[in-house]
């Protein structure tokens, strides 16, 4: 111990007047050149493929344009059309309904499973469960929706066959308006809950064991312990999981596109599907951009609102 202290003191003293680097300006120039080279691909890429397109969306939304003819200035007409177009309005309503149910379900399932996995069990079993719940995340949403389309088929799907075993009549999972939205939500949640689950498992690991022990000593058990102690301590993770969950849910596309193609009628048509269809099927680039701008504003507004609300409810340790 004393041995290590002496050189440490000695080292510090000659370091007090540091030998100035030989030519600081040359080194600085070298550093700046290197920084420019290192940053160029990322900054140029972000400007060309994100910053310019954001501005482009706003500008395009003020024009009528079908790519073939010259664009003509439309002012706010596209926004007027958007608010007058029942398909667009329905798509916003569908997306909000989808978001509320999908995120709530996703968070509930993930939280319950994370608490259950966090309980006492053999280490290998815990890692088996953790891997299983996280596995759907590595699959393609499009291909898995193809699989689910077969499973939820009204006539020969496995889901209705299983329900038949317990005497439930075949459900028109993909062909009736209410059931179709529920199916899209189920398929989406099946693939996505693993993400919130991973966040919650991480958040639970960060709660100091002593707090739980102290609570148990004070007589708190089971559900009460979770409600009064675990949840408040987990609230920062809950906030992150719900913000990311909402942002992702507002962009849902693959599941409704493959499962129902927005139908029956417009029952499962989402905002991103409308952007896709009006731009790339109907060549109405101005209107598609207006919908995109509105979705962007919606995402920003929801996020801002959530952070504001959370200031009241989130406890940081």
């Amino acid at each position: 111990m004393t041995n290590t202290q002496i050189p440490a003191v000695r080292l510090k003293q000659p370091a007090a007047p540091p030998a100035a680097p030989p030519r600081p300006s040359a080194r600085d120039r070298g550093t700046r050149l290197l920084a420019t080279l290192f940053l160029a691909p990322t900054i140029v890429g972000i400007v060309v493929f994100t910053v310019v397109p954001i501005a482009g969306s706003v500008v395009l939304s003020l024009f009528h344009w079908n790519v073939i003819d010259d664009p003509s200035f439309a002012g706010a007409a596209n926004y007027g059309e958007v608010f007058g177009d029942s398909t667009v309005l329905v798509s916003f309503r569908n997306t909000l309904v989808f978001m509320v149910f999908a995120v709530a379900l996703q968070l509930l399932i993930a939280l319950a499973l994370a608490l259950a996995v966090n309980g006492r069990m053999p280490v290998w079993l815990r890692s088996v469960f953790r891997s299983a719940f996280f596995f759907p995340l590595v699959l393609s949403a499009a291909s898995i929706s193809v699989v689910m389309k077969y499973l939820f088929n009204q006539d020969f799907g496995m889901v209705n066959w299983l329900l038949g075993l317990v005497g439930i009549a075949p459900v028109p999972w993909l062909t009736s308006e209410n059931a179709a939205m529920a199916t899209v939500i189920l398929v989406y949640v099946w693939q996505q809950f693993g993400f919130s689950f991973l966040l919650f498992v991480g958040g639970l690991n960060n709660i100091p064991k002593e707090i739980h022990e102290a609570a148990s000593l004070d007589g708190a058990t089971g559900l009460r312990k979770h409600l009064n102690i675990t949840l408040p301590l987990l609230s920062p993770t809950l906030l992150v999981a719900s913000v990311v969950g909402i942002i992702n849910a507002l962009q849902v596309f693959e599941q409704p596109y493959v499962l129902t193609n927005g139908g029956p009628g417009d029952a499962t048509r989402t905002v991103v599907m409308v952007i896709y269809e009006s731009a790339f099927e109907q060549l109405r680039f101005g209107e598609a951009s207006a919908v995109g701008v509105l979705l962007f504003v919606l995402i920003m507004a929801v996020t801002a609102l959530q952070f504001r609300l959370s200031r009241r409810f989130v406890h940081y340790q």
């Binding site: 493929f49 077969y150 020969f156 952007i275």
Partner: protein
């Protein structure tokens, strides 16, 4: 007293049984996909489904190779995914290092720009992105998928954190030894960056191997399709005629993702959770 004791000693078993049921529900569709792909197309409708095929056949796998050019789709997907993953590791590694360890003008606003674009969803900007690519002649090419995916705001952020976590003394010692900024990066810090780069690479692989939205919009001719696009259109063409053939294609397309899941589970998990936490 006794009753409550019994209840508590039973609870762990009930909990584990519940978890097992949930795990089965989670993996069920995947198990069904694999087992049905091993049956003949004619058998694939049979109910009750045989979960363990008594006489597995590769007929459906031969079928999917007859129906679509699986090799071409796999080659396209591999090219796109591998180039994006490598490209992101390079751009994020370099930019992350610059933000963490180099001094230059406008560092703060530039980093703020990177952070801000992390919030912008691709779906919102797809129309202008499509037009930018069209003006470059890159629509309906694989390059049109690859190049815009090179810059990664999240990867840059992650690599910056990673380089910030390395001891500063290493670089200072190398500087006193007369190393220039490039040598310090190349010989001191870059060799330590592998685990961080692995996270960026694995995340890029997972996202772009499964990507559907951009390929659907950009790639119009079949020769440029990637696997998810090819499978969705195969399902559309075959309707419900030969389920097992489509499912065989799904199984084939899953293999690389499963390999990455097994080999790279740790970086993948770290990446997914930090992607969430840092948004």
């Amino acid at each position: 007293m006794n009753l409550s004791r019994t209840r508590y000693s039973l609870a762990p078993w009930a909990r584990i049984a519940g978890l097992a049921v949930c795990a089965l529900l989670t993996l069920g569709p995947v198990i069904w996909t694999i087992s049905t792909s091993l049956r003949t197309p004619a058998e694939s409708f049979d109910l009750p489904p045989k979960i363990i095929p008594t006489d597995p056949t590769m007929e459906s796998y031969r079928g999917v190779f007859d129906q679509i050019d699986v090799w071409l789709l796999a080659l396209n997907s591999t090219l796109v995914t591998a180039l994006i993953a490598v490209g992101q590791m390079i751009t994020a590694g370099l930019a992350g290092y610059a933000f963490a360890r180099l001094e230059f003008r406008f560092k703060k606003p530039l980093f703020g720009l990177v952070l801000a674009t992390m919030m912008v969803p691709l779906q919102v900007t797809i129309v202008p992105v499509f037009l930018v690519l069209k003006s470059m002649g890159l629509t309906d090419t694989l390059l049109g998928l690859i190049i815009p995916a090179f810059p990664t705001a999240f990867g840059t952020f992650l690599m910056r954190q990673y380089f910030l976590g390395m001891p500063k003394d290493l670089g200072e010692a190398a500087m006193l030894d007369g190393c220039g900024p490039w040598r310090i990066f190349r010989s001191v810090y870059a060799p330590l960056a592998a685990p961080g780069l692995a996270i960026v690479g694995v995340l890029a692989f997972n996202y772009h191997w499964n990507e559907f939205f951009r390929p659907l919009i950009l790639e119009t001719s079949g020769q440029n399709y990637t696997l998810p696009l090819g499978l969705v259109s195969l399902q559309g063409n075959l309707g419900t005629g030969s389920i097992s053939v489509v499912l065989a294609g799904v199984v084939l397309s899953m293999i690389p993702a499963v390999v990455v899941f097994v080999v790279g589970q740790r970086p993948l998990r770290e990446g997914i959770t930090s992607a969430g936490v840092n948004r």
